[in-house]
């Protein structure tokens, strides 16, 4: 039997089709493999900072005697610029029942709208239900950016 070694046009076509199919699908699989890998290696736009440091804003965002809420990890935090030009940063989670506190320019103090709790700008609980002070943070300014950090334990 010598039939199979002589390629008929149908066989030739089928083989070419198969080669094309295989070739292109190999290329497709390689692309679908390399594309994710190469994209992965490109660093994302959002820089991951250490879990202890967050950029809270830029110098000039706040007017004196105002405060703003920003995100620290998954919890709200409060950044205040007092009249004497110093920045203060504390957690904005009230130590009473976890409402979000705010800065009251008329009182020069931090206030919780839920049950009238009051704190100083550094988080000391001074009136109302809060049993403990607000967690305080350190503020550092670098190249016009305001960084808020967890207090170092040393």
């Amino acid at each position: 039997m010598t039939g199979e070694s002589v390629a008929t046009p149908e066989v030739k076509n089928r083989r070419r089709f198969l080669e094309l199919l295989l070739g292109s699908s190999v290329v497709a699989s390689i692309v679908s493999f390399f594309y994710p890998v190469l994209s992965y290696m490109i660093p994302p736009a959002t820089q991951e900072l250490a879990a202890d440091t967050v950029q809270a804003g830029r110098v000039g965002d706040l007017r004196p005697n105002t405060g703003k809420i920003f995100r620290f990890g998954s919890k709200p935090a409060l950044l205040i610029l007092t009249n004497d030009g110093t920045y203060h940063a504390t957690s904005a989670v009230c130590t009473h029942l976890n409402c979000t506190v705010q800065y009251r320019p008329d009182l020069n103090a931090v206030w919780c709208a839920c049950h009238n709790g009051m704190y100083t700008v550094d988080g000391q609980n001074i009136s109302g239900p809060p049993p403990r002070p607000l967690q305080g943070f350190e503020v550092a300014i670098q190249s016009g950016q305001i960084f808020v950090r967890r207090k170092s334990t040393t």
Partner: protein, 434 residues
Amino acid sequence: MLMRRKERAANLHSVIARLIVFCGILLFPALSVSGQTKNSCLDCHAKLDAPLGVTPEEYQGSIHAQKGITCVGCHGGDATKDDMLESMDVKAGFRGHLERSRIPSLCGKCHADAAYMRGYDPSLRTDQFSQYQTSVHGKLLAKGDTHVAVCADCHGAHGIHAPNDPRSSVYPTNVAQTCARCHADEAYMKLYKIPTTQSADYKASVHHQALADGDLSAPTCSTCHGSHGAAPPGVDSIQHVCSTCHLFQSQLFDSGPHKDVFAAMGLPGCITCHSNHGILAPTDAMIGTDKSAVCAKCHSEGEPAYATAAAVHRELVSLDNAIKRSDEILQRAGDAGIEVGEAQLALADGRDDLTKARVAIHSVQAAAVDQDIQAGLKVAQSTYQTGVQAMAELRFRREGLVVSLAAIGLVIFGLAFLIREIESKQKSDKEIMK
């Protein structure tokens, strides 16, 4: 020898001066036994058993001893004499065992004298005795009842500590225990027909828990009843007392219909719903038409108030559930790897709204509660949408994978066919070789 008379006198003066100083140095230890001035009372009474015994630790730990006020300050007598007849001589001012009815005025002799107290601690109050005279204890004592509490019953007699000393029986965390000594004693209180459940009730309350958790400003017996002027607040003044801390609730209550109704009915303000001693953490179940709800205590079916109570309860529960639903979906998305931190933060606002709604309840007006509830529902809804989008992103990833799976599938088929081709060629080549 060549010294003149003047010089010799000067020499003598300096020698005598030096001698005096030298003797002084020798005698100094003996003279400066400060705080170790003779206390013959303690010398004997330390060796006696109760009720005449006073241990040195008890006495020396007390604030009076630290300030130099000894036994004779209250009991009179002469503490320098060892002989009993001399030290406990009436002529020396000895008062002996102090009658209960005379204790307040005795303590007041110093503690109500502002000029005198200024010499020890200018910031101390000096109105304790006058306050005591307005109290239930003071009034009954004046009538001759010696069962009631006098100064020594709460503060101790010999081992008195300053109230801000944790060892003191009137330190904030110890006050309830001190009051309970009499007020939880059924046999003792039978005389006055006062219940004795207050101590047990208070121990179960949120206020006690807050105090135990370290918040020294949390209320204890004396916070609401007064300490020296102790008396139960009248029905009219209960709201004033509670509102010193719970201001918002009080203001809302004033703005609502309950204020006048409660006053007209003689109901005791806040404690009508919250109780006085056993104040528990409030729950959403307190509002509504259920048996356990406080509204049902007065309102029955058919009344408009009944419908309001039911509606408010429904709204609270709906917001609570909406928040829980958002939280759950955001958790799931976050766990699967989608960034949902912003939405979780926004959800905190929704929780704030629920907290505020629970305060707004005190106005007993559905509209006030509704305002907070609607705000909260909006937040819950938008965060839920974010969660839904996050899950959709997950699905999108899966769909993307299907594309590459399709490519892989094609490769597998291609390989299978290639193998078939090659092997049939190999077989036919082998046949040719044969």
